[in-house]
Structures are given as C-alpha cells and as structure tokens.
C-alpha cells in the first residue's frame, strides 16, 4: 500500500474511533438541541454547571467511585503481588490450573457470578455497603493484577535479591531497596489498569450495592434513561477523565512491548 493510501486508511480509522465521542462533546455544551438542527442553537455551560454542583450528586458519586477503585486496587495489589511472584518465578505442579482459575473471573460474564456473590455478601452483612462493592470488584480486578504481576516477575531476576542478601540486606530491606524498585514500572501499570477495571464496573456495583452505592456509571445511566442528554454527556466526559489521565501517564509504555500488559485491560 502506498503511504498516501495508508494515511487515507488511517484517517478513516481515526474518524471511526473518535466519532461516538463527538456527540458527547457537543451535547455537553448544548442547550435546546432539537431534531433536525445540525448544531446546537445555543452553546451553554448549563449542563456542566449542574453536573458540577452539589445537588446533582455527580461529585459525591465521583468521590465514591474513586474511593472504591482505589481501595480495590490496593487490596488487589496486596493479594495479587505475592501470587504474581509465585506464578512468575516458580514452575510447579498445578501452576497451569492456578492460572486458569485466575483467568476465569476475567473471562466469565459478571452475570454468571453476581447472584451467588450477592448471597455471600448478604450473609456477611456487606450487601449494599461500600466494602461489599469493593470485595465484588476484586473478582474482575484481581485476575488482571495477578497476571500482570506474573509477567513482571517473569522478567525479574531473583539473583538480584540473593545478591542483596549476601551483601547484608535483611529480607525486608531486600524487598524495599531491590525488588520494589525493579518491579515498580510494571506495578504502576498494573495498579493504574486495575483502577480502570474497577472504575468501569457496572453490573457488580448495581447488584451488590443494591442502590445504596451510587457509582458514576450507575448515575450516568439514570440520567441517560431520564433523557437528559446534555447532563448525561457532561457526566460521561467527567467519567472518562481518569482514563485519559492514566493514558497520558502510560502512553509511552503501552506501545510496543508494554502492549502485552494491556492484554487484560478489558473493563
């Protein structure tokens, strides 16, 4: 294919990729945009003003969603880092089975597990609470975290740790001053994407939160079904903001080799 044709194909692709986002941008600043007007009659900050006011509940919801995603990520890290180390550094009988078990929640639809999960959390008294939602989010987030950490540890040479021990470092010192710096880039990516996976959850929050935990996607849907296109669009744009920030931080890493890490990014 000639370069000019490639650029043409690229343009078509770019158009396809940004197209669904354009109406959102337009709607968020539109006022009274009725069919068949091609452009909004009036550009207005009304939707944004409402979305950012305290009465809309968007900001509170933003905080709730951030808190849940952060807590889920940290919890997943605490559990997934050791597991990733075991799977990345050691070959052992049953390793394939463990990997498969880890992969299952990432691949199985949420609806398959959500009824039983709700039953468990109900019994634990966690249904309709934020801790309950965090535990539920752990199910799709943990596989992602563990598999990325597995890949990170598979590229880590444990001889560095032995060398540190032989130079007089205790196990804790070794972890802090040798292992952690070495796995930090991969760990950051795992955390950012784990955050995004939790950030995007809809059904699990709906089922386990039982209407009492209102994250952004739930709020977004209630405004969308109420037909408030302008406010919906504003919330939708607020909702994709963290993803954009994370992309800005990691864009360089995701390309090429790092792209393997995005393999499990599937909110």
């Amino acid at each position: 294919m000639r370069p000019s044709l490639r650029t043409l194909a690229g343009l078509a692709l770019a158009g396809f990729l940004v197209l669904p986002l354009l109406p959102l941008v337009a709607w968020s600043v539109a006022r009274g945009w009725r069919f068949p007007a091609l452009m909004p009659d009036q550009v207005s900050a009304q939707a944004w003003t409402f979305a950012l006011s305290s009465q809309a509940g968007v900001l509170a919801s933003f905080a709730t969603t951030t808190l849940i995603a952060t807590a889920t990520t940290l919890l997943a890290l605490l559990v997934g880092l050791p597991a990733g180390r075991a799977l990345g550094l050691y070959r052992f009988r049953g390793r394939g089975l463990v990997l498969l078990l880890l992969l299952a929640p990432a691949l199985l639809p949420g609806i398959a597990v959500v009824f039983g999960l709700h039953g468990i959390l109900l019994r634990l008294g966690l249904a309709g609470t934020m801790p309950g939602v965090i535990l539920a989010h752990l199910i799709p987030v943990l596989p992602y975290m563990t598999l990325v950490m597995t890949a990170v540890f598979a590229r880590f040479d444990p001889a560095f740790e032995q060398q540190a021990r032989s130079l007089g470092a205790t196990p804790l010192q070794t972890f802090r001053s040798v292992t952690l710096p070495a796995i930090m880039p991969g760990l950051m990516i795992a955390c950012l994407f784990a955050f995004l996976v939790s950030w995007s959850q809809y059904l699990l929050t709906l089922a386990v939160g039982a209407g009492r935990v209102q994250t952004l996607p739930l709020l977004l849907f209630s405004f969308a079904s109420a037909g408030r296109n302008d406010i919906t669009a504003a919330i939708a744009l607020l909702y994709i903001l963290p993803g954009l920030l994370i992309l800005a931080v990691t864009a360089r890493r995701i390309t090429g080799r790092g792209a393997a890490l995005t393999e499990r990014l599937h909110p």
């Binding site: 040479d157 001889a159 032995q162 021990r165 032989s166 007089g168 470092a169 205790t170 196990p171």
Partner: protein, 363 residues
Amino acid sequence: MTTLSLHGLRKTYPGAGQAAVHGIDLTVESGSLTALLGPSGCGKTTTMKLIAGLLTPDAGEVRLDSAPITTLPPERRGVTMVFQNPLLFPHLTITQNIGFGLRMRGLSPDRIEDSVAAMLARVRLDGLGDRRPAALSGGQQQRVALARALVLQPKVLLLDEPLSNLDPSLRDEMRQLIRGLQQETGITTLVVTHDQAEAVALADRIALMLDGRLAQHGPPQDLYRRPASIAVARFFGGVNFLAGKSQRGIFHSPLGPLTLPTGAPEGERILTLRPEALHLGPGPNPRTAQVKAVTFLGTQNRIDLTVDGLLLQALTTPDLAAGMAPGTSLTVSLPPEALWLLPPDGTRGTGGPTGPVPPTLRA
C-alpha cells in the same frame, strides 16, 4: 582472618534424582585464595550458595573457624558472594551500589561515603561514581561488583566465575586485581571457576570438584603432577594411561618393564605420564615409536604416536616437531621422575563402571 570449613555438606534439589553436592568436606585456610574448580554442572555454584546461605543444605555444616553458621540467614554470616553476572542494581548509581551493604548495616552516610570513595579508587573507577550501571562496560561492572563486596570487609569472600563474562583481553587485568586485593586484605577467598588455567594462575590452592564430590584438594602443582585419580588427571589434560603392575621399582606394562621413581607404590596400578613430559629422543625407558599425526596448536604441537600398537600423545615445541611426518620412526623415552602411579580403582573415577576408558588402554 577466618578459616572456612565444610563438613559433610550435601544438597539435592527437589525433583532431581542425583545430589548436586554429595557430601563435601573442605577446609579453606585462613587468608588463602582457593579455587573451587570443576566442569559445569559439578555442583560448584551450589556449594558456594550453601556457604553464602542462599541455599539450605540437606545435611552437613558450614563453619567459620569453629563456629557453625549453617542456620544463619545470609545477611548475618559475614560471608559475601559475588555472582557470575555483576548484578549491579540498575536503579542505583555506582556509588550507591558500592555503598549498598554498608547502608543496609545502618552506617552513617559520612562513613559510607569515605569507604566507598576509597574502594572506588582501589578498583580504579574514580570519577565514575555518579554513573548508572548501564553506562559502564562489562569489565567495569565486574569491578564494581567486586568493590561492592570488598567494602564490607567480609570474613569470607566468594567469587562465582569472576572472569567468565569478560573479554580475554580484560581477564588478565581482572585476575591481577583480584589477586592483588586479596593479598592486600588477606580475606579468605573462594573462587569458583571451570577453567583450570585460570585456577592455576589465580589460586594458592585448588579444590577440584567432579560430579558433586571433592576429587582432590591441594596446591596447583600437586593436582598437575600427582593427580589422585584418572578423572583428576584427565581434567588437567592427562591423556597417557597404562595399566600394569608395580614391583620393586619396575612397572610391568604392555610396553614392557619401565623404571619407576623411587618410593613408587606396589601392586596393580595405572601409570600416567603428562604429554609434555614424554621426551622425543633417547633417554631412560626408551621405546621406538611411529608418528601417526602431527597437529599444530599454536604455541605447541601435538604428536600422536604408536608404541607397540599403543597410542601415546606428546606435546612439544614446533621446532622440535619440525620434520616429523606421519610414518616417521623415532626413539622416545619415558623419564622415571615424570611417571605417576594412580590407584587401579581410578578407572572408575569419573563416570562409574561405564565411564570412559582412557584411550591408551583401549588401543
């Protein structure tokens, strides 16, 4: 000054059928530089990691002087190991790498700085302290790894193949640096290597390991001239072996009676003679030989001979070999002082009953 000793040290890896280290007893004299020599896979590195505390032995003990350290974690042993790869921590500068161990001990930054600066100078890397490991050449990295261990003034220093990652041109320099620093500090040092020339050039004493066992331990000359078994002799390039019987100073062999040096042991033995000691010309124990092949090896020529249908090999200077073409007949002699008798069970030294039979015995 510390003596390191190993007592019945044994290690089998889980899942492996054979023991990697098969009950080693070894004493590394205080202040000596001992080479732990052996082919790859013989258990050298495992032994070293057992000493460093990076592996736990199944049985046996490691002692410093008389104190057992077998159950101490690596950081409390006073034993520091330098790995075959330099393993410099990539996120730290050279200075920070060398100061790593001191920082772990909680020393004050001032003291660390002084020690590191002095150490940098001793390994001739002054001015490179602020660089990252990736900016250094392989040889420089190896020197940093050495400095990082030496700055801790360990009781015992373990070096795993310190020269194997270097270009031949850098090896000599590094060898001299190791030797010099070791003599200066007097730190008891054990160097793992698979290269006999390196071991001979570097070490006071050599401990030869074969198949997880200690085959012989002594000064380099002993292992060369007075090997304990066929396996040891072959590891050091021995090729000429004759089975026979030693009686009152005479060895009765397929080549007829050979005069032995005084004090040679009696009975069924294997006689060995280093190829460079086989004399091309008349002398004691003369025999008539036919030249089969002459191979140019650079500084030496290898000459394959047959004597009474038996194969012998000689190494000689190229000038002496000049004019020897295959088929030529000449007189060779086997100097009694170069003849060494091995115990007959030496034939089973390397690989058990099915192990390789020395070539001369086969001919």
